[in-house]
């Protein structure tokens, strides 16, 4: 059997609304059969908070602090928790849910896709473990969070690999359920989160991580990647989603 060829997109650093709009555009394009299964690797500029689909924006995010520190915020189409995106490599993976390598069982498919990320980390010399439902740990500390949705018979999973982490900044932007124990929570998160810088020192680049993740997907799914670009159709879709959805107050404040 011939090795499948999938598409690799490297879209650089974009705003929160652009990033979420592109993920959705690729989902739609793939669901219509216009583009092959796609892995996209990207970053965020400005830094941003994304919240899970079911979260209430003002309950999770200090919008005033975000404005003061020039931090974007956006609601994802995926469930899960609030994430502060600054020093990280973000991936998104889009594939038909009928693909033979994608389990019908959602938890199983989380595991398979997380395995690709873990194999990628292996190429960087970082050994990791999968912590169901949606986390990847290094030395028992979280380095990656992941979230999946299924729409139009298509799987979209996106997630982050922390290259560095500023927990104090994160807690200036995110609200905590109980202000009284905020100090304790910050200390706790510092204990439970790690980053590639923490594990490897600073002698690696964004590209090193991207390449490792690409290899992780290749090895896990036994495919090869072709460097691609967003199609005109995807660009149109992304522009539209950015305007009507991810860049709109109605969407971001909907709950």
């Amino acid at each position: 059997m011939m090795t499948e060829e999938w598409r690799l997109l490297q879209t650089g650093f974009l705003s929160a609304a652009e990033n979420m709009a592109i993920d959705r555009a690729v989902l739609v394009a793939h669901s219509k059969g216009y583009v092959p299964p796609t892995v996209r690797l990207y970053g965020w500029n400005p830094a941003a908070i994304s919240i899970g689909y079911f979260q209430q924006l003002t309950e999770e995010v200090d919008l005033t602090a975000c404005d003061e520190e020039h931090i974007d915020y956006v609601r994802r189409i995926t469930g899960g928790g609030a994430v502060f995106h600054e020093d990280e490599v973000t991936y998104s993976f889009v594939i038909n849910e009928k693909h033979p390598q994608i389990s019908k069982n959602i938890l199983e498919s989380y595991k398979t896709i997380c395995l690709a990320i873990m194999n990628g980390l292996d190429f960087l010399g970082v050994k990791s473990t999968y912590a169901p439902i949606n986390d990847i740990l290094v030395n028992n500390k979280k380095i990656s969070g992941n979230a999946q949705t299924r729409k139009q018979k298509t799987v979209l999973q996106h997630g982050t690999i922390l290259t560095d982490v500023d927990v104090d900044k994160m807690f200036r932007l995110l609200k905590v359920p109980n202000e009284k124990i905020k100090g304790k929570m910050i200390a706790n998160v510092k204990e439970r989160v790690t980053s590639l810088t923490h594990e490897l020192g600073s002698d690696f680049s964004f590209e090193d991580v991207s390449n490792a993740l690409k290899k992780g997907f290749e090895e896990t799914f036994d495919v090869t990647f072709t460097d691609g670009m967003l199609t005109d159709e995807e660009k149109k879709l992304a522009t539209s989603f950015q305007k009507t959805t991810f860049g709109s107050k109605k969407w971001n404040h909907q709950r």
């Binding site: 209430q56 469930g79 928790g81 609030a82 949606n134 949705t149 299924r150 359920p177 709950r255």
Partner: protein, 93 residues
Amino acid sequence: MKMKSVYKVPDGKLIKIFLEYNLPVKTIKSITIAGDFFAYPEESIQQLEQLLQGKPLDEKKLETMIKDFVKDNQVEFIGVSPASITDAIMRCK
């Protein structure tokens, strides 16, 4: 009357319920089931919130209603369950 609860499901995710209670008739006026869980399809949570409008805060009835809803609509929850969502609703104060 506005009520709220924050409930961490054991071995699961966090549920935050925002509930407006219609005190004179003792029913749910409106409810938001928020949190960092996963539900497929995602739109089902809004449907569930609508379904719960006008219903009394009766633990058994709520749990049965949510269970039936999940079954009828082939909803898949990850990190929460009909029982834990009911639990979170009943914890509102």
